[in-house]
Structure formats: structure tokens, C-alpha cells
């Protein structure tokens, strides 16, 4: 899921950092739909255009913040469900 979008993001982030730093990019397949001031604006536009199917929204920053969820890291919560999570 989102494989194309994630590769496209990595291939273009350095260019976007020059002109769209701190904005949120909305990507579907290998197309930039737009840059937005907030993640809420980007997601709303994504839903407007693509309904509830998947699309990528990420901040244009040098390094993505990695979520820190110790309950998953130490295995208190199951981060590897036995059922595949995809649609």
C-alpha cells in the first residue's frame, strides 16, 4: 500500500525542500496533487478527490518524525497482527 507514493516522495523530497519546506504534500500514485499549509487541508483535499481510498500526505521536512510508541516496541501492544492489514 502506498508503495508508489512513498518511492515518489523519497525521489523528490530534496527538490521540494527548496521551495515548499514545512508544507504538506498530497500525492496520489506518482502525481503531486498539491502543497498545503496543514495536514488537515491536505487530507480534506485528498478525500475530495479520491474519496476514502488511500493517498499520501506528508510534511515536507528534511527528516520525517518517527513515532515513539514504547508499548508497541516492547510488545505490550501487538504491532504485528496475525491478519494482513491492507485493503
Amino acid at each position: 500500500m502506498l508503495e508508489k507514493e512513498l518511492v515518489f516522495f523519497e525521489n523528490n523530497i530534496s527538490e521540494w525542500l527548496k521551495t515548499q519546506s514545512e508544507k504538506y504534500v498530497l500525492i496520489k500514485n506518482e502525481t503531486v496533487i498539491g502543497f498545503f499549509n496543514t495536514d488537515a487541508e491536505a487530507i480534506t483535499e485528498g478525500v475530495r478527490q479520491f474519496g476514502l481510498s488511500s493517498f499520501l500526505v506528508r510534511p515536507v521536512i528534511p527528516e520525517q518524525k518517527k513515532p515513539d510508541i514504547p508499548a508497541m516496541t516492547i510488545g505490550v501492544l501487538n504491532a504485528n497482527p496475525t491478519q494482513p492489514i491492507s485493503r
Binding site: 510508541i69 508497541m72 485493503r87
Partner: protein
């Protein structure tokens, strides 16, 4: 100012098999700081769906566990799928068996049942939470906007915004 105040209670059985009320202090210690919540789609997405003539999925009731150790809130993957929430990113999460596993990211809304306290969370991490009898993990992205008072001795939890 909306305030949610909750005192925990629990029932157990004594050695003779008779019902026994558990002290609030112990009930909160063993159950953890859970609150009744409704998990649904954020307001902006709901408005967009209505404008498109689509139905907005009904919020799903369940328990949310407050986790001050988590930087981000989490949503149960099955709940997210029932709500048809769009996947908007994939992020690496370290697990006991892997350095990092890619997890889905969803936008969600949490409403604390019986209050006007709600939070739109645009980057909730998908996780398998059902086996913990919770549908959401309430992390510091939500807690950064509220005051939380954990009263261990009296088994009470107060949340205000």
C-alpha cells in the same frame, strides 16, 4: 471548560466465590487509565463526504487507553477498516521482533463519551489493539491539548480541555 471526571470500579470474586467490589485504586491500577470513547472520522472528512452525497460512517464506541509514553495516538486497525478511514501514510515502528515495521497511518476523531471533549487526530498509527479490549491509544498528540490528573489513591481520572 469541558471536564471529564471518572472514578474506576471493578468487580471480582472472593475465595468463597462471592461477589466482591474492588477498590477504585486497584481497579484503575490493573485496568489502566481507560476512558469510554467514540472513534470516528474527523469533521473535515465528514463534511467532505456529505458534500459528495456519501454517508458518514457512524462512530464506533469502545475504550481508549491513555498512554503518556506514546508520542502519537493509535487506532485499532480493524476499527479503522470498519470506518473506511483512508490510509494516508506508512511509518516505521520498532517492535520486539523487527527493527521497524511499516504501519498504516489514518486520520481519526476521538470523542470522550458524555463530554464535549473531542480531538481530530490526523496521523493516528494503526495497531492491533482489539486483544487489549481497546480501540484507541491516547498519546501525547492529544494529551498536549488537555490537562490530565491521575489520582491513584482514589482511583480517579480527570481530563479537561
Amino acid at each position: 471548560m469541558p471536564i471529564l471526571h471518572s472514578q474506576f470500579r471493578g468487580d471480582s470474586l472472593n475465595s468463597q466465590g462471592e461477589p466482591l467490589q474492588v477498590a477504585p485504586k486497584l481497579a484503575m491500577q490493573f485496568r489502566g487509565p481507560v476512558l469510554q470513547v467514540l472513534v470516528g472520522v474527523p469533521d473535515e472528512i465528514a463534511e467532505q463526504l456529505i458534500q459528495q452525497g456519501l454517508s458518514v460512517p457512524d462512530p464506533i464506541p469502545g475504550y481508549g487507553l491513555i498512554d503518556t509514553g506514546a508520542s502519537n495516538s493509535c487506532i485499532d486497525d480493524t476499527t479503522a477498516q470498519i470506518l473506511s478511514l483512508p490510509v494516508i501514510d506508512r511509518v516505521p515502528i520498532a517492535t520486539p521482533s523487527h527493527d521497524s515495521t511499516l504501519k498504516n497511518v489514518y486520520p481519526m476523531q476521538i470523542v470522550f463519551t458524555g463530554t464535549q471533549i473531542k480531538a481530530n487526530v490526523y496521523r493516528a498509527i494503526g495497531a492491533s489493539l482489539n486483544n487489549q479490549q481497546i480501540i484507541a491509544l491516547i498519546g501525547r498528540d492529544i494529551l498536549s491539548n488537555v490537562t490530565l490528573f491521575y489520582n491513584g489513591p482514589s482511583g480517579e481520572l480527570t481530563l479537561s480541555i
